[in-house]
């Protein structure tokens, strides 16, 4: 078995912070403009090259289904664009939730990168959006979510579709925090083999089984050069891979991220941690997300449903997994709880 360090030493990896987008889920989309600007400025000074800024569910995500944002995406992106000097601001766009006009708006406000996301089997709904990303001159990324739910081979087919539409980077996304390192290696190494040499590969982890850092290292070893994480781990479920943790480990292993580790640690501790009602933790319910393979954002409404209807969140999440619910289906959380109440009556 090959040692990890020789596989990753001297690799160049671009860190992509998610605490101002994925972190919006943990904050129920209520991050203030001041907090956004403050955190973005700190991350930029620490040398983080990409910062994602959007409602947790991407452009157009502000809704009753996912929760209303305290501010509009336009306001958030504009505020951060004023603050950062070097970092590229990225946005998330999920066809079916956000629209092409919203992407145009984001580009106008200063976004330089877009993650066009779909469920890992539905890449062909992203053609219009990836096309527009390229037209607008954005760093255009295809983002395949819930990637644990399909075989590696099927994932490769979907990635090739996104590449054919113009995606310059393709991500394998572990939205449920379900994967273990071997699952990651199988997917990333296969993607590296089938995609064009100039197409970059990214990996986005959730820390629900405590595997964010390990999985991200496996991804780098297998050929990923973009790693998503969040300062202080602020993200859905038990959070994303804590960026400062990954940066520290990267330094030890000789992975070149270009970030100032101590500055990044300070941002996490002094600017991000204080805004959280509680730090992300692998509690009973978020472990269940990773254990059963449920979309990480379902955590919050499952906990709400437990309070409202008395059905344990873990039971609701297990039922959602059994029903094979995927990203975006928050409405099914309350529906499932209501049905369970009827059944248990």
């Amino acid at each position: 078995m090959m040692m990890l360090e020789p596989q990753v030493r001297n690799r160049k990896v671009k860190l992509h912070d998610m605490c101002l987008r994925d972190g919006m889920h943990s904050m129920r989309h209520q991050i203030t403009l001041e907090q956004m600007s403050n955190i973005a400025a700190g991350l930029d000074e620490a040398g983080v090259p990409f910062l994602q800024v959007t409602h947790g569910d991407g452009l157009g995500g502000s809704s009753l289904n996912y929760g209303r944002g305290l501010h509009t995406d336009q306001e958030y992106i504009t505020a951060v664009a004023k603050t950062v000097k070097n970092a590229t601001i990225s946005v998330l766009l999920v066809p079916g939730i956000g629209t092409l006009d919203e992407l145009r708006m984001a580009a106008d406000c200063g976004a330089g990168c877009v993650h066009v996301a779909s469920h890992c089997t539905e890449a062909d709904v992203t053609e219009q959006h990836i096309g527009l990303g390229r037209e607008l001159g954005l760093d255009t990324v295809g983002f395949l979510m819930m990637a644990h739910m399909v075989s590696p081979e099927h994932l490769f087919e979907q990635a090739l579709l996104m590449e054919s539409y113009g995606a310059q980077t393709v991500y394998c996304v572990d939205s449920a925090g379900y994967m273990l390192p071997d699952d990651v290696t199988a997917r990333i190494s296969g993607l590296r083999a089938v995609l064009a040499a100039e197409t970059e590969i990214g990996f986005h982890a959730h820390h629900n089984l405590g595997m964010g850092v390990a999985n991200s290292l496996a991804a780098v070893a297998a050929g990923a050069c973009r790693i998503d994480g969040s300062a202080a781990g602020l993200g859905a479920g038990a959070g994303n891979t804590p960026l400062e943790l990954f940066a520290a480990v990267s330094e030890r292993l000789g992975i070149e991220t270009g970030v100032d580790l101590f500055k990044l640690m300070d941002v996490a501790e002094d600017r991000v941690l204080p805004i959280m009602p509680q730090p992300p933790r692998a509690d009973r319910d978020s472990i269940t997300l990773g254990y059963a393979g449920v979309y990480s954002t379902f955590l919050y409404q499952a906990k709400d449903a437990e309070k409202k209807y008395g059905v344990p969140a873990r039971d609701i999440l297990l039922e959602l997994a059994r029903k094979k619910m995927i990203g975006g289906q928050e409405d099914m959380i309350e529906d499932t709880a209501l049905s369970m109440v009827k059944e248990r009556a």
Partner: protein
């Protein structure tokens, strides 16, 4: 009375499901199916059922429209193709029922506003989207009782039930449904979200409707209105079911629906196809009866030179 002859443009899931329904109609007779792929399964199937077919798109049927007395055409292609298709067919005096999200003609959700369209002499009618057909009746049921500030719908469909036409125009799908939720549903503002789920066995179509009323919701009146509207939809989509709700949280009314299809073409999970084609059929039958009764005189639409 002689049936009104019609053509189906688009040989995919929606076009084929529509064909099976048209064959049962007492006022409509399908005579042509139009596709763009020579080896289309849909065209082959249509030929087997006795229809004339062409793989050359609408251009392939244009020379035959008048001779074959085609008076109504259903466009089940995609938003991108629709404007051209409609222009060519309207020129020949054909009424076009638009099943794409192009929405260039007035929007129609039968239990809400079909009757209003009779007598308007409109040559193009848009059926919104499957998500719109499934949810707008519920929005209307609430807005009939009280002013709705905002309505939001989430439609979840099985991956197998969505063809390439829909996938290539998800953006138009989202925007057209959002606009119709407000315009036809009667909300001041509307939003639509669509999720495509690949689960096996395929999931039955699910639709969630959230309405925010301006004043405190009248629970009893709204609940009664919702049940009445469900019964109205069940007249033409028997599998339209209330799964949970209506529930009330502050000014938010939540309605959870499931739509089971008849299983004409795709199996019953594809309720989304069924509600769309059933609505289109119902709309076309009303216009066909108007044509038969001499109430609707189809006119050849010429654009300005």
């Amino acid at each position: 009375m002689e049936k009104v002859k019609c053509a189906i443009i688009g040989s995919g899931n929606i076009g084929t499901d529509l064909l099976y329904k048209l064959r049962r109609s007492e006022v409509l007779e399908p005579v042509w199916m139009v596709g763009i792929e020579p080896d289309s399964e849909g065209l082959q199937r249509a030929r087997g059922l006795g229809l004339k077919t062409t793989p050359d798109g609408v251009d392939g049927i244009v020379p035959h429209v008048v001779e074959d007395e085609v008076q109504i055409a259903f466009d089940a292609t995609s938003a991108y193709a629709h404007a051209e298709n409609s222009r060519k067919l309207n020129r020949l005096g054909v009424l076009v029922i638009d099943l794409t999200p192009a929405a260039i003609g007035p929007l129609c959700v039968p239990p809400v506003n079909l009757a209003k369209l009779s007598g308007q002499q409109t040559m193009n009618v848009n059926m919104v989207t499957c998500a719109g057909q499934a949810t707008i009746p519920m929005v209307a049921a609430v807005s009939e009782i009280q002013e709705v500030e905002y309505a939001e719908i989430i439609a979840t469909v099985a991956s197998k039930s969505i063809g390439m036409g829909t996938r290539k125009n998800i953006d138009e799908f989202t925007r057209t449904t959002s606009a119709a939720v407000a315009q036809v549903g009667g909300a001041a503002k509307g939003k639509a979200i669509v999720v495509v789920n690949p689960a096996e066995p395929p999931l039955m179509m699910r639709d969630t409707v959230y309405c925010e009323t301006v004043e405190e919701p009248d629970r009893a009146a709204i609940t009664a209105s919702v049940h009445k509207m469900i019964a109205a939809v069940q007249q033409y989509v028997p599998g339209y079911n209330l799964k949970n709700g209506p529930t009330f949280e502050g000014r938010k009314v939540s309605i959870f629906l499931e739509v089971e299809g008849l299983g004409d073409f795709l199996p019953k999970y594809a309720g989304n196809l069924d509600i769309m084609t059933a609505a289109a059929l119902r709309t076309a039958e009303m216009f066909a009866k108007d044509i038969q009764a001499g109430k609707f005189k189809l006119e050849q639409v010429r654009e300005n030179a």
